[in-house]
């Protein structure tokens, strides 16, 4: 069978299968980034707080989840989550194995990893806020919450965009590892298609090309977002970007 027929969208082609899988990859990555944003914000706050215990927790989190292979963390969440769920099921009177859904396990694992990187991004962005602005806000009597809402969060989000773009790219590539849980995202789909047609080279090249399309498109999205967020800043104040 010719390559174009194998890749077509028709009944004998794997094209539609791969495209759906690419959408799943995007969905896993987007969910992971959202989970990571919550975890990352909490860890960044812990690392910036005055409490020694919170700082230690934050430090341990970022060290462990950035220093241990992603694959190992996916195994921890997938197998550990399933045995945890089974234990809860047994306690509620259900005997039998309860598996954590592979999408949830994958998104959670990639999210926990991206949380460690996002925490560092948010912390860096917080330090990029000019101290004078925080002092000015305090001087005119803004409360802690108001300062957070009006001064800190908007600027942290703006300064964090380039860093978040990098984290997104990392998570997009980490999401390929979720294929070990059996979730049919782009990596697993390329494996299935190449295994059933014995055209390993073709399908891994096509899968890789689809990843390249996803990474370069998202690069553009983040560049546009950065430009839009910085509309109000002159080139000199943001370092000539």
């Amino acid at each position: 069978m010719a390559a174009w027929e194998l890749l077509g969208l028709g009944a004998k082609g794997w094209g539609a299968f791969l495209l759906v899988a690419a959408v799943t990859t995007l969905a896993v990555t987007a969910t992971a980034l959202a989970i990571g944003a919550v975890a990352g914000a909490a860890i960044a706050a812990a690392k910036l707080s005055g409490s020694v215990i919170l700082r230690v927790i934050g430090h341990v989190y970022t060290t462990v989840f950035r220093g241990v292979p992603e694959l190992l963390i996916i195994y921890l969440i997938y197998f550990g989550g399933s045995s945890g769920l089974t234990a809860v099921g047994a306690w509620l009177g259900y005997d039998g194995f309860l598996g954590l859904p592979s999408f949830a396990a994958g998104a959670l694992a990639v999210g926990i990893i991206s949380g460690a990187y996002q925490a560092e991004v948010f912390r860096g962005a917080f330090h990029a806020i000019p101290r004078g602005e925080l002092e000015a806000a305090m001087a005119i009597g803004m409360s802690r919450r108001l300062r957070l809402r009006r001064i800190i969060v908007p600027q942290v989000l703006r300064f964090a965009i380039p860093g978040l773009g990098n984290v997104w790219q990392l998570s997009l590539k980490d999401s390929a590892l979720v294929s070990v849980t059996g979730l049919v995202e782009l990596m697993r789909a390329s494996q299935i298609a190449s295994g059933s047609t014995r055209q390993y080279f073709l399908f891994y090249i096509v899968g890789g090309a689809l990843y390249l399309i996803l990474t370069s498109l998202s690069d553009r999205v983040f560049n546009t977002a950065e430009r839009r967020a910085n509309r109000s800043m002159s080139a000199s104040t943001i370092g000539g970007a």
């Binding site: 060290t63 241990v68 195994y75 197998f79 590539k173 990596m187 090249i205 890789g208 990843y211 390249l212």
Partner: protein, 234 residues
């Protein structure tokens, strides 16, 4: 906590550490050499050569390492030219495929890091070297390479730690390194947390050693920036 289980797990995992270290050191070495070549092409000024280097960097940084590794491991054997060539006895080995794809991938990232280092070399230093008559390889060896390497070192340490973590993927092409052995233990015993803690500890210790070594290297390369060598003062 079941210490007997933890210690037997630790012993089993530590037996796999040499495989991880072989994967790591070979891929860093080969990837580093390849990266030097790609950096040279990238900054060569020739549009065809630098275009090739740009494409290489785009492809290997833009796609997941796992798909590159599967392409090498499953894809190459599909071609008769490779299967009947003298390379086949090597390329048939999973560990060779793993090292090959790790090296190809890290070369893309490392080339960008080296290029960043070269861009940080002050133009004045190059002009000064040229004015005393240095050019070509002598200029690179004496002026550009040492300064660029010092600037690239912090980013390069990060890349090396990422590579240590990436060796875990070799377990998916049947190389029994630490993560692969840990996965086997998990599916045999279902004691995920204990096995994870042992494996995580091994990787954290390895990464800590790497970072300390890189800090030491950075320190010893910045001697000219310190006012006095501590040894001379005493």
């Amino acid at each position: 906590m079941d210490f007997a289980f933890l210690s037997s797990t630790m012993v089993t995992l530590i037996r796999a550490v040499p495989t991880t270290l072989v994967l790591f050191s070979l891929s860093i070495l080969c990837g580093g050499i390849l990266a030097l070549g790609i950096t040279a092409l990238r900054v060569s000024g020739n549009p065809v050569l630098s275009g090739f280097a740009k494409a290489y960097i785009f492809v290997f940084r833009g796609s997941p390492l796992l798909i590159q590794m599967f392409l090498v491991f499953y894809g190459l054997g599909q071609f008769g030219v490779i299967r009947y060539s003298f390379l086949w006895p090597f390329l048939r080995e999973p560990i060779v495929c793993a090292v090959l794809s790790l090296a190809l991938c890290t070369a893309g990232y490392t080339a960008e890091i080296f290029r960043g280092g070269i861009r940080a070399v002050p133009a004045k230093e190059i002009e000064a070297a040229r004015s005393v008559g240095m050019s070509g390889f002598l200029l690179v060896r004496r002026i550009i390479a040492p300064i660029a390497f010092r600037h690239a070192l912090p980013a390069y340490s990060t890349e090396i730690v990422l590579m240590m973590k990436s060796t875990a993927l070799a377990s998916l092409v049947t190389v029994w390194e630490v993560t692969g052995v840990a996965q086997r233990l998990i599916s045999q015993t279902y004691r995920t947390m204990e096995v994870f803690l042992c494996a995580a500890l091994i990787y954290l210790v390895l990464n800590f050693i790497i970072l300390q070594a890189m800090n030491l290297l950075e320190y010893s390369l910045s001697r000219h920036r310190r006012p006095f060598a501590p040894g001379l003062r005493a």
